[in-house]
Amino acid sequence: MDPYKTINCKVIKVIEETSLIKTFILEPEKKFSFATGQFIQLTMPKIGESPFTPSSSQFAKGPFEVTIMKAGRVTEKLHELKANDTVGIRGPLGTSYPLNEFEGKEVLLLGGGVGMAPLRSLLLTLLDEKDKYEKITLLYGAKNPADIVYKDQFESWKKRGAEICRTVDAADNDWKEKEGVVTCLFDDYSVNPKNGVAVVCGPPIMMKFGTFKLLELGFAPESIYLSMEKNMSCGIGKCGHCGVGKYFACKDGPVFKYSLIKDIEGIWE
């Protein structure tokens, strides 16, 4: 098996989430499955490759979804994809959210911006086995109402049993929910750090202040899980690019317990 070779996937559908973010429903030519939190390398033939975390439930059969923000060279090209186009994937790669450690606990998902992609996968996976967890909460922040991803899905997640609070940095006239950076959601939401775990994903600055807030609220560093986004190339622990201190984010992560990396300099950069 050549770990650099890709599996072809057919683009089934493209959903426009925001002006910069699209969700792609992909159908792999070969059998493919992943554990929530793991990532894939998505290849635009002859153009380049970038890492993304599937945003659908790990239990969903058949096609899976990735949600991609336009951020540069490769993602611009990915955004040009249409139904019936072909892309390549490698993976699944890296570590996943340790669901067994979440069982019987209150699971708190704290997300910002396109960081919602891996959290959506986790949320849907948790909801698929809802009875295993004490409580499932999503705290989500976006820049403004227009930047919220999966806009029409939050209601259905609530119906399935998730507790959800949302905030935007800058509200408009129609916005009825909270206004302020994501950590302000803790003003109205009481956590249970003793029997809780928290999962954080979002832009580095949000991850940093989100994590510090969780610590302040009494979460142990062992109970906070982070998805680290680093420059990646090989995705299989060989090229050296994704270093988080002594770890390779692609192999030892991307999901890390905060306790494992808390003393490493520069993790938020």
Binding site: M44, K46, G72, P204, E229, N231, S233, G240, K246
Partner: protein, 324 residues
């Protein structure tokens, strides 16, 4: 393991016989330095000397290559690899061949190493506590004795090679074994003395690198981020991938280049030159031993020899390691 003897004439005859079936390289003397040359039927060679200018690693993978199945190349034999290069293979093999295996890292390379008999002015294997001869990752090792070489076996492939070419070798005599030991000891002593009889204790280096970042500030001043140091290193492994027609293309890369750690949106955790310079040390003496179990440096001194900023890697290492 039993040792064998091969005479100077027989080595010549052996390499001649091997040429049709193998791609063979050996260290060729160029005034004061050694480079890798392809063995031809009329090549004049000796296994005296020290490490080549370029490292052994590029016989196992290329600095730039298409990751496609190659048309069946001949297997390779590399004569005269030195201890620092074979030691460097430990980390490279750990990275490339384990979990998952990289099918483009060649497994059909026989390493016929040779004891160093001279050293480059930048060599410092002994300062790291290592010996100037191959202790691992060799198939056969050649030690110069009178009129030929004492040959030691380092792997099953080496043992098989000896068996398949038994006619060229004879049993070693005990005075040849003694002569090998005494050559080794006296050369090791010579190199140790050259390096001020230092053997560094690298145990607490992690804290020291942070604590004495002023050393990196001072020495890193002249670094121009050219990446020679990592390109010629016996154990640096970093690369990046781009898209080829069939599969990826792999290019060697370097943590000393500014673009190395850049992420989407332009954020770069190692924007600062001194941070990058320091990272090379931390990678080699802290991260790799902790995670892969091997140092990322074997003391070959190539980084110093090739540095455009005239930075003496050994000197920096000693400064930090000996600081309180």
């Amino acid at each position: 393991m039993e040792q064998k003897f091969i005479s100077n004439e027989k080595v010549k005859a052996l390499t001649k016989k091997l040429i049709p079936d193998y791609e063979i390289f050996y260290p060729r003397r160029q005034e004061e330095s050694w480079d890798w040359a392809r063995m031809e039927a009329d090549s004049e060679f000796t296994f005296e000397g020290h490490r080549t200018v370029l490292p052994l690693k590029y016989f196992f993978y290329s600095p730039q290559e298409n990751l496609v199945e190659k048309k069946k190349d001949k297997p390779r034999i590399i004569f005269g690899a030195r201890g620092c290069d074979t030691k460097g293979l430990s980390l490279l093999k750990k990275i490339y061949l384990e979990d998952p295996e990289d099918p483009h890292f060649r497994k059909d390379v026989l390493v016929f190493s040779a004891d160093c008999t001279t050293h480059h002015p930048d060599c410092f294997c002994t300062v790291l506590g290592d010996q100037p001869w191959a202790t691992e990752n060799f198939d056969l090792n050649f030690s110069i004795v009178e009129n030929g070489y004492l040959v030691s076996v380092g792997s099953d492939a080496g043992a098989k090679f000896l068996k398949d070419h038994g006619g060229f070798f004879e049993s070693a005599r005990s005075e040849q074994e003694k002569s090998m030991s005494s050559h080794r000891t006296s050369f090791e002593e010579e190199l140790k003395k050259f390096n001020g009889n230092k053997v560094l204790d690298l145990k607490d280096l992690e804290g020291k690198i942070e604590k004495h970042s002023d050393v990196f500030k001072e020495y890193g001043k002249t670094c121009v981020s050219c990446s020679s140091c990592t390109n010629v290193c016996s154990s640096c492994f970093c690369f990046f991938l781009s898209e080829g027609d069939e599969n990826k293309i792999r290019y060697m890369d370097s943590c000393q280049l500014k673009s190395y750690a850049r992420v989407a949106g332009g954020a770069n955790p190692r924007e600062d030159l001194i941070e990058r310079f320091k990272h090379r040390f931390t990678c080699k003496f802290v991260y790799r031993p902790q995670m892969q179990g091997f140092n990322g440096c074997t003391g070959c001194g190539r980084c110093t020899a090739g540095c455009q900023g005239k930075i003496d890697f050994q000197e920096v290492l000693i400064k930090v390691a000996e600081a309180k």
